[in-house]
Amino acid sequence: MLLSEAVEVKPQPTTKIMEEGVINIEEEKYPELLGKIDHPPRKLYHRGHWDEDIFKNCLAVVGSRKMTNYGLMAVEKIVKEVAAAGVTIVSGFMFGIDAASHRAALDGGGRTIAVMPCGINLVHPEYQGELYGDILENQGLIISEFEGDFPPDSWTYPKRNRIVAGLSKATLIVEAAMKSGSLITAGFAKKYKRKLFALPGPITSKVSEGTNHLLKNGASLVTSSKDILDFYGLRNSPLRNSNGQKTEGREREILELLKSEAMEIDDISRKFGLSASEIGATLSLMAMKGLVFQKGRRYFANFN
């Protein structure tokens, strides 16, 4: 994405919480963990209600803009559960893994902090205005070390990443290429002696090269939310389970199939030897029950 594309968009006035402020490094309210890093920001501009509790248990979740479906599923499962257990999810508000993490935190009923690479008056990228509002409405925070309408630039992103890592006890890298901003964040986390988690990925995926590299070099491997919650000394809180409903017959068979691999409708119909019309009708019904969801052409089993 070109930086010149950053468009100045003021948050929509539909957002009820428009509380704004600045926190100085000398103030009591300044996040303790962030104060311990090498060059902490002198001032933190924020939007949303400043509640020190939010900084108690923070997990940074970062990853590639080129999120794959695998990355999305991992975020929707792991991050959602971690957030539901009371951990604040910190991320960078970029599209891809960042945005998915904020969204997953909100879906899990948790709180989330978006650290912006620009002034807090700008929504960047500008089409994520809805997410911006939702974060604030759910007792989250938008913070930045840049004032007001400060535009994002190539150098503001790595600076932003140091805050993301600095605020958090641990950092989870979901998907990252070898040369990426996410690995810069991982580097900061290491430098600040914070815990580093990484999600293993397929060896064929470009955006898993970075995370697999981190795992080789000592990052902790994450396969479930428990791996992270153990570190925080928290326990998995029961989620509203949409899978509570019983499935039978064809729906059950399809669900079992999709649990092992996401599939396109044509493949499913060939597998069962049934017409696309019949399978299509069944999948529509399953999607409405929340058993499966569609991404592009493929159907995924809902793990939640």
């Binding site: 994405m1 594309e5 803009r65 080129k66 999305l72 599209f95 945005a99 998915a100 969204r103 990228p125 089409y127 809805e130 470009k206 396109e264 409708i265 044509d266 119909s269 060939r270 597998k271 030897g273 017409s275 696309a276 019309s277 019949e278 299509g280 009708a281 069944t282 999948l283 529509s284 019904l285 999607a287 409405m288 929340g290 569609q294 991404k295 592009g296 052409r297 493929r298």
Partner: protein, 513 residues
């Protein structure tokens, strides 16, 4: 000496009688003048007529010749007045009588032979309506006119033939009249559905579209087979009936799209204009309003490949004809109304690079680029497209060996039978309405003809919240479900029909993440 020869003039799809009056004065300086709002092409007739007569072995009279094209206040276009003028002049030199109630039209070549002209079919209809018995027309265009028993069509190859015929020396044999119904049987084979491997859902969507006359958009990566699917659609639509064929032939005749020696149009039109096509090229227009691609696709398929590469203004101009089924064009040079009842088949890539959600290639587009790309198709236009289907890229090598895939391979003929059955149900349903198929239903028709059981209603309202359907989409889903029910010969819309219809809701403008 004054000779009057009947001819005609096409304005849009209407035909007007024109009298070609040739006066050869016995006095005055030798000259050749044409009056009666002749265009350049008509005015140039002088040279063609003079040379063609000379080259037919008859010396052109050195007299004062005046030709009047009456009525004199309507502009005359085209080159087909060559023949009546030549016949008029010849009759004065060679001395033959012009038979009663005969129409002449044709363009002359300098060597005295006749060339193909356009609009012959329309003139034949005019001749039939005004009780004319004989038509003299070039041989290549004769089949186009020979569709009515009442009219004798004389195929003329050379000017000298007419002289011999009218002089009673050697008669031209009229073309045998062709039965329209028999002609319609001679359909050429279309691209067959069974040649498309895989794509079960897309094929089903295309079948539903054909059965209900719905417009459809296909989204897929390059090479996924969107064009093949579109090409197969005319083959699964019900065959053209007599009335439809005549409507289509009119438009093809007036635009000169009927091949040499051809008669009526037998296959459903399939038009696929390139995305650089101008607004006038697509909807029609020009100095003298002529039909555009949408009218050439009348009763057939208008396939717009790379849908969002078309300029916005061009796409938006489709909205009204999509609603009305015809287009009225008014220009300084005249006014014309052309029919445009076509099935819109659009196709587009999922993103600018084309590889979003591709199984093996990676997409190089940012969400912003994709959003901007998709925004080029406006909401109101998408609202007029009932079915939305994503066409996956398939590995055809694997599929051709996969026996399970071949189980679903159906020929176009099989699908066509189902489509025809569904259409006949719709015909009965809309007997008392001014519409023909489910796609044309307005909200009032939906209320009247699509009863939703509580189960279906519940399903739809649940879908409304889980899939965030707009009010427009609601109606689209009901229409599509009605067609699916028709395909299964079901009186009621069952929940499964509605559930399947939901598969074809549009996600094109959905939020990307």
């Amino acid at each position: 000496m004054l000779i009057k020869i009947p001819s005609a003039l096409n304005i849009g799809l209407k035909t007007l009688g024109v009298d070609v009056e040739v006066n050869i004065a016995s006095r005055g300086m030798p000259s050749f003048d044409i009056v009666g709002l002749a265009s350049k092409a008509v005015d140039e007739s002088k040279e063609r007529v003079r040379t063609a007569i000379g080259n037919s072995g008859i010396s052109f009279p050195s007299k004062k010749i005046t030709v009047n094209l009456a009525p004199a206040d309507v502009p005359k276009e085209g080159s087909f007045y060559d023949l009546p003028m030549a016949v008029g002049i010849l009759s004065s030199i060679v001395q033959f009588k012009i038979p009663e109630s005969s129409l002449f039209f044709g363009e002359l070549s300098l060597d005295g032979s006749l060339r193909r002209i356009r609009g012959v079919f329309l003139m034949a209809i005019f001749a039939k309506e005004s009780g004319i018995k004989n038509i003299f027309v070039s041989k290549q265009s004769a089949n186009e006119a020979a569709l009515f028993k009442e009219i004798k069509v004389y195929p003329v190859e050379r000017l000298s033939q007419i002289v011999a015929h009218l002089g009673g020396k050697q008669l031209i044999r009229p073309v045998e009249c062709q039965e329209i119904e028999l002609e319609l049987e001679k359909r050429t084979a279309e691209f067959d559905m069974s040649e498309i491997l895989g794509q079960e859902q897309a094929k089903r969507a295309v079948e539903i579209a054909a059965a209900g006359g719905h417009n459809i958009i296909m989204i897929g990566s390059p090479g996924s087979g969107k064009t093949m699917l579109a090409r197969a659609i005319p083959g699964i639509l019900p065959s053209l009936n007599k009335e439809e064929s005549l409507e289509v032939t009119k438009i093809y005749s007036v635009t000169g799209n009927i091949p040499s020696g051809g008669s009526i149009i037998r296959n459903r039109p399939f038009r696929s204009p390139h995305h650089s096509t101008s607004l006038v090229g697509l909807v029609g227009g020009g100095d003298k309003p002529h039909p555009g691609e949408i009218s050439l696709a009348h009763r057939g398929v208008l396939f717009l490949d790379e849908f969002n590469e078309f300029p916005r203004s061009v796409l938006e101009s489709l909205r009204q004809p999509l609603e009305d089924g015809h287009v009225s064009i008014t220009r300084a040079g005249g006014r014309a109304k052309y029919p445009a009842e076509f099935m819109l088949v659009a196709s587009a890539n999922p993103c600018p690079c084309g590889y979003l959600n591709h199984p093996t290639k990676s997409c190089a587009c940012t969400p912003r680029e994709i959003r901007n790309y998709r925004k080029r198709i406006s909401g109101p236009l998408m609202d007029r497209i009932d079915l939305y289907v994503e066409v996956p890229s398939v590995d055809t090598r694997n599929l051709s060996q996969d026996k399970r895939a071949s189980k679903f391979l159906e020929t176009s003929a099989t699908i066509k039978k189902r489509v025809e059955k569904a259409r006949s149900l719709q015909k009965n349903r809309f007997q008392e309405e001014p519409i023909h198929c489910n796609a044309e239903m307005k909200n009032s028709h939906i209320k009247k003809h699509c009863f939703l059981s509580p189960a279906v209603e519940g399903l739809l309202s649940k879908a409304g919240s889980s899939f965030q359907l707009s009010a427009r989409s609601y109606f689209k889903m009901i229409k599509v479900a009605r067609t699916i029910a028709d395909l299964e010969n079901s009186k009621e819309i069952e929940p499964t029909h509605m559930a399947e219809a939901l598969q074809y809701r549009s996600h094109f403008h959905d939020e990307l993440n």
